[in-house]
């Protein structure tokens, strides 16, 4: 059996009730990230819970809209930036549709943090290539924030952001701030460029090949649709990246998030508890394909 948990950070799972019972949280801010994608910021109501609720980039939560249901969302902010917690919502189902109707001040439930996270310690001293597709950029934002908050600990940062069209690129208003950081390069690409588009056109794989990043002392982090992850990994390998240099975060519609409901397994690997962050070297060894 492949060791799915290689090096990924494993927070403790002892606090059973906090993982199985939703904590109440209040929406503090809602903003449009892209067409049909919102960023929702919440703060946990209970002060003790708030203090204890720390998380690693890559971890996720189960969000409840009471009366509608619960769905998993990747955390989109760094735990070190305070007690306000961000997650991105794309309107694709009943829970996300209900989240779209909520306002600042409304209460939701939040269970977590769940899953592992990116091994930020292991990334120290390395150049980081961040590859985000569509709303897949959201769970990568905490990595970007963590690197910028500890800038000397990491090498160069290259961010490649892709989407089907410009209106689907997320966190556009933060690009200037990100690019103002030392040793940061950022590239944007869309599948279909409208007239006047000043950035790249085409798939993220074409952009990677064009930039031709050096694999030397570099790790990559990728989040996006399964098909994007598949071809991105192939392109990186072509450019000389070893699968052990590439980290991905996978998604599934976990009902429980704690390895019980059986909804997210890939063979004997559970995305919710063994992941969602995996080293691609391990993903290659999975019996069942994620694509």
């Amino acid at each position: 059996m492949p060791d799915a948990t290689k090096s990924a950070t494993r927070p403790n799972m002892e606090r059973a009730t906090e993982l199985t019972l939703p904590n109440l949280a209040t929406i503090t801010e809602i903003r449009d990230l892209a067409t049909n994608i919102k960023l929702i910021q919440v703060q946990l109501d209970d002060l003790d819970v708030r203090k204890k609720f720390t998380y690693t980039p890559g971890q996720f939560v189960e969000i409840s809209v009471f009366g509608v249901g619960e769905s998993p969302f990747g955390l989109a902010s760094s735990s070190d930036r305070g007690s306000k917690i961000d997650f991105a919502v794309s309107r694709v189902g009943t829970v996300t549709d209900a989240l779209f109707r909520l306002d600042v001040g409304d209460q939701i439930g939040m269970r977590g943090p769940l899953g592992n996270g990116f091994p930020m310690e292991e990334f120290k001293g390395k150049n980081i290539l961040v590859l985000g597709g569509g709303i897949g950029g959201a769970p990568l934002r905490p990595i970007i924030q963590t690197i910028f908050d500890n800038r000397e600990d990491y090498g160069t940062v290259t961010i490649l952001w892709a989407a089907r069209s410009p209106d689907l690129l997320v966190f556009t208003e933060e690009y200037d701030e990100w690019c103002a950081q030392p040793d940061v390069e950022m590239y944007l690409t869309v599948d279909n460029a409208p007239e006047g588009w000043e950035h790249e056109e085409g798939l993220i794989t074409a952009l990677i090949e064009k930039i031709n990043p050096s694999p030397k002392n570099t790790i990559t982090v990728t989040c996006g649709p399964p098909i994007m992850i598949k071809f991105t990994m192939m392109t990186l390998e072509k450019l000389g990246f070893q699968p052990k240099q590439n980290w991905v975060t996978l998604e599934a519609k976990m009902k429980c998030g704690i390895g019980k409901c059986g909804r997210c397994n890939l063979g004997e690997v559970y995305i919710c508890t063994d992941g969602p962050v995996f080293c691609f070297e391990n993903v290659q060894g999975f019996l069942e394909s994620f694509v």
Binding site: E70, G93, N265
Partner: protein, 338 residues
């Protein structure tokens, strides 16, 4: 050997009924299921296997796992601990299925609070099978018609009535008032089915994951999900909220957990619509691999206890024992070929 006559057993059960909930095999709409009984006479004792396993008492088809009240404040309440229950007449295979549940719901952190509440409240009184029935294969998956695994008390039918094995503290507690006759008698050997295939090891299953066999096998599957429905070890579930009361300024909801199954076409679909298990072949394969490779690798016990219910209910004739036999054959073939 502790022995109880039928009469004494009935008196004991009648006595238990005074103080605790007892569920036992009863006939309901032509099916044999575990239901709460009011009188001892309702119990069906002469049966092979029940149509539904007693898992319905520890992992009900649908049950609330959270009560939600939304008014000025939002209040969340976990379900109370269920009242103590004695599950009577549990077949040894079904008792073993609870050990598979324990490994997942209790031993693998974090514990599932709702299952834990049920488990703690339940005492299991088993009834040995005098023989393996048609479609039974408990011995091929580590069980036996007279296995004590997972039970608190095991009863075995003998000429004088029942031989009683009190196995746990819980068992002792409910049998404390019983006065047994001590007899020098040995337990009868159950009649076994010989020549069952032997179960291949998990790595042998792994080697066959991409075999064409799964495609062929799934061609006849109708996706009716009956196999999962009657399975004592299937535990995939769905969670959804339901409105239960509405008053001015106050809404009440229940968060319900309900059985679901990996053989359902959309079960593994993700938010963007992508489905990594998009064919019948992949779904049926997952069902068998879960039972014989993933579950034991991840949690310890096998995900099958050999009750044979899925064989009986499958309208397409898909036979899990045949699958085990074919995997054994293919494994042999690989070994010879390799």
């Amino acid at each position: 050997m502790k022995v109880l006559t039928q009469k004494k057993l009935n008196a004991w059960l009648a006595n238990l009924l005074q103080t605790t909930v007892v569920a036992a095999p009863v006939e309901a709409q032509g099916k044999l299921v575990y239901r709460k009984i009011d009188e001892v006479s309702q119990i069906v004792l002469d049966f092979e296997r029940t149509d539904m396993s007693p898992k319905t008492w520890l992992f009900p088809m649908t049950e609330p796992i959270l009560f939600i009240e939304q008014g000025v404040e939002t209040k969340l309440k976990e379900p109370p601990k269920p009242e103590p229950i004695v599950l009577f007449g549990v077949r040894p295979c079904d008792a073993r299925s609870l050990l598979a549940f324990d490994a997942l719901f209790l031993d693998k952190a974090p514990e599932d609070p709702q299952y834990a509440r049920h488990r703690e409240s339940t005492t299991l009184v088993g009834l040995s099978c005098p023989q393996m029935w048609e479609s039974c294969f408990c011995t091929a998956v580590g069980g036996a018609p007279n296995s004590t695994d997972g039970l608190d008390i095991l009863l075995t039918q003998i000429e004088e009535g029942y031989a009683v094995e009190v196995l746990t503290e819980k068992g002792k507690k409910i049998s404390a008032n019983l006065v047994f006759e001590e007899k020098k008698t040995s337990l009868p050997d159950p009649k076994l089915i010989q020549g069952l295939p032997s179960l291949s090891k998990t790595d042998e299953w792994m080697a066959l994951f991409n075999d064409l066999y799964w495609e062929q096998l799934s061609n006849s599957c109708l996706s009716c999900r009956a196999c999962s429905f009657v399975c004592p070890t299937c535990r995939c579930f769905d969670v959804r909220d339901e409105l239960t009361a509405i008053k001015p300024g106050l809404k009440k909801f229940e968060r319900l957990r309900a059985w679901d199954t990996c053989t359902a076409s959309g079960y593994r679909r993700i938010a963007g619509g992508h489905n990594p298990r998009d064919s019948q072949k992949k779904r049926l394969r997952n069902r068998f691999f879960c039972k014989f490779m993933f579950y034991p690798d991840d949690f310890g016990p096998l995900g099958c206890v050999g009750c044979g219910r899925c064989i009986d209910v499958c309208p397409a004739g898909i036979d899990i024992l045949e699958v085990i036999a074919n995997v054994e054959k293919m494994t042999e073939r690989e070994k010879v070929g390799g």
